[in-house]
Symmetry: C2
Subunit: 348 residues, 2 copies
DNA sequence: GTGAAAGCGCTAACAC
DNA sequence: GTGTTAGCGCTTTCAC
């Protein structure tokens, strides 16, 4: 067979092959002796395929060690089964529970999370959104409701379902799950007033949502006829140290402060720590309320009163929204107010 | 020209179109009056294209509001610019700083993070890995070095660069950045011995890495001729409450404990809190050492001694590894030991 | 520096 | 239930 040049050589490929050399669905189909599309159906919609074929395909997959290529599937079907989430930051405890629940709820339904961090700067969010939309996720989960005009334009033009979280607004981009920060501020102020505290203070992060809680808190205090609330703004991230420093500042000026509302439990722990270091009795002389109800709040000594936000429920609801949209289900209620609860403990 | 039926009508499409209707690179190319491949080059490798063409393409992109489709690009080029990371859990403070730095370092280089949570169960990791590999990321960042045989097989067969983190091993799958948990346990024990403590205890999470620190700690204590270390294992996640409970248990049995090494700062804060509640003087009667050096450790009262791990450096190094591999650069050192530092503060 | 052709690996649409 | 065909939107290869 090697004496002369073969008369009909296999036509030489005109160009080099490109493939990664990996096992493809075509290989599986060939081994199972079916058409590629049938192999595809056997994997994606097994009920559309006869049991024998299903079996043969399953065996071929195992024999070849085939792992599906979702990228190719996504391109062909225009469904990536990827969902993007954007949070300000991952260091810090705030968004962990939401992301955890979101990731899990998505994974259960066959979706994967893509994560981005916007920092607390608009321009970063815009660039990130561009990178994200370029990947054609089936949904985008965003933190907060404040967007640059450019971001709104990009999101709307993309046609991708968007879920805003951690806040409420009368004009959501699309879907929304959150709670009212103004109501939180109001509720905490009223609570402290009812407990007879008059010299109130706020230690707040400098992000928009903290400021909304702070403003509502001050307003409610004013409506109750209290002296002006003293406000200390601390830069992100809010830490124990900033809490200690804030209480120092409060102690050095004006009449003795009787209650502090902190925009995170870590800040509150700082206030508690500094109070202890100064021999200031909590709650007798000073009441402290945190925000977030981190798992450590309940077991501090004294236990910390805090505003509980159900981050996990927020994550699950966001996942539900996105998946419902991606799978074409009707969504009657596009806004979910998760509310909050003020948990009273030893620190008040 | 419009008097009769055109002799050569555009051939009617034989089937319905599928496209999403979105603007594609072809549209951009047409508007810029160049071939699609030229438009592609103008966006990806602008230096390969004349300034005029670059300009026309840029204008066309802006005019049409074009957003590139990375999925299609990934399929054609076999480079997704997606990197997967798998952590046990997102709730809890441990992996935040690493993920934050990883995400940022990747974003700077044009890569996007895909996130998965394995829980602390092997089978979940296997399923997750399958979902991840199906998305063809350019790299996979994993937590720890213990994998099921199935996971190893999948990863190796995929040919995707893998970075293991948060640990060391003589037999990494591929790339590795971490530190020695045994060395940590050893160092903390020695430190306490030198401070004259003899009745030692460990409060450890029940994950593999905590147990390795614990074992080395016990061994070092034994070598120093100390009485047996009392060990309390707590289930994940490690919380303040578990720390309080652990100290209660320790106080109820045996001789008075003189030093506790906790496998997280939150556990240590629990021990500190319970000690305070019981009137146990820290550090006079009881020394406490944490792990992780969360940002609150330094500002507690007393300040908490802890083992500092540079999670951000770990994230940056992992990003560097993955990107170097994805871009075909040579990697001379495939293992990076980041070490740790034992930070002495008021609690010891 | 620019372009034509040929896929990447998969699935929607339409037949049978 | 199964197969044929024709792409999804991009980039590789090769040619000028």
């Amino acid at each position: 067979m090697a004496t002369t040049a073969p008369p009909n050589p296999a036509p030489a490929p005109k160009r080099a092959r490109r493939g990664s050399g990996a096992v493809t669905l075509h290989d599986v189909a060939r081994l199972a002796a079916v058409a590629p599309i049938t192999a595809s159906r056997a994997l994606n919609t097994p009920e559309q395929v006869s049991p024998e074929v299903r079996q043969r395909v399953t065996e071929a997959v195992a024999a070849l060690g085939y792992v599906r290529n979702h990228q190719a599937g996504a391109l062909a079907s225009a469904r990536s089964r990827l969902v993007a989430a954007v949070v300000p930051t991952l260091s810090g405890p705030v968004f962990g529970p939401m992301l955890q629940a979101l990731t899990e709820a998505l994974a259960e339904r066959g979706y994967q999370l893509m994560l981005g961090q916007s920092g607390y700067v608009d321009s970063r969010e815009d660039a990130l959104l561009d990178a994200i939309i370029g990947r054609r996720p089936d949904g985008i989960v965003l933190t907060g409701v404040e967007r640059s005009p450019e971001a709104r334009r990009l999101l709307l033009a993309s046609g991708i379902p968007v879920v805003e979280t951690w806040d409420l607004t009368p004009a959501p981009l699309d879907l929304l799950v959150g709670f009212s920060h103004a109501d939180v501020g109001h509720a905490v102020a009223q609570f402290l007033v009812q407990r007879g505290r008059r010299q109130l203070a706020v230690v707040a992060g400098d992000d928009e949502r903290s400021r909304r809680r702070e403003r509502a808190f001050c307003q409610a205090a004013a409506e109750a006829g209290l002296p002006a609330v003293r406000v200390i703004r601390v830069p992100a991230p809010t830490t124990l140290k900033r809490g200690r420093q804030a209480l120092c500042q409060l102690c050095e000026s004006g009449p003795a402060v009787e209650a502090v509302f902190c925009s995170s439990d870590l800040l509150a722990l700082g206030v508690l720590t500094e109070a202890q270091a100064r021999g200031l009795a909590v709650p007798a002389a000073l009441a402290v309320v945190g925000f977030g109800d981190q798992d450590f709040a309940a077991d501090l000594n004294p236990a910390l009163s805090s505003v509980r936000i159900d981050g996990q429920a927020m994550g699950r609801q966001a996942a539900q929204f996105v998946v419902d949209r991606a799978e074409g289900r009707d969504i009657p209620e596009r806004v979910v107010d998760l509310g909050f609860s003020l948990i009273e403990r030893g620190s008040t």
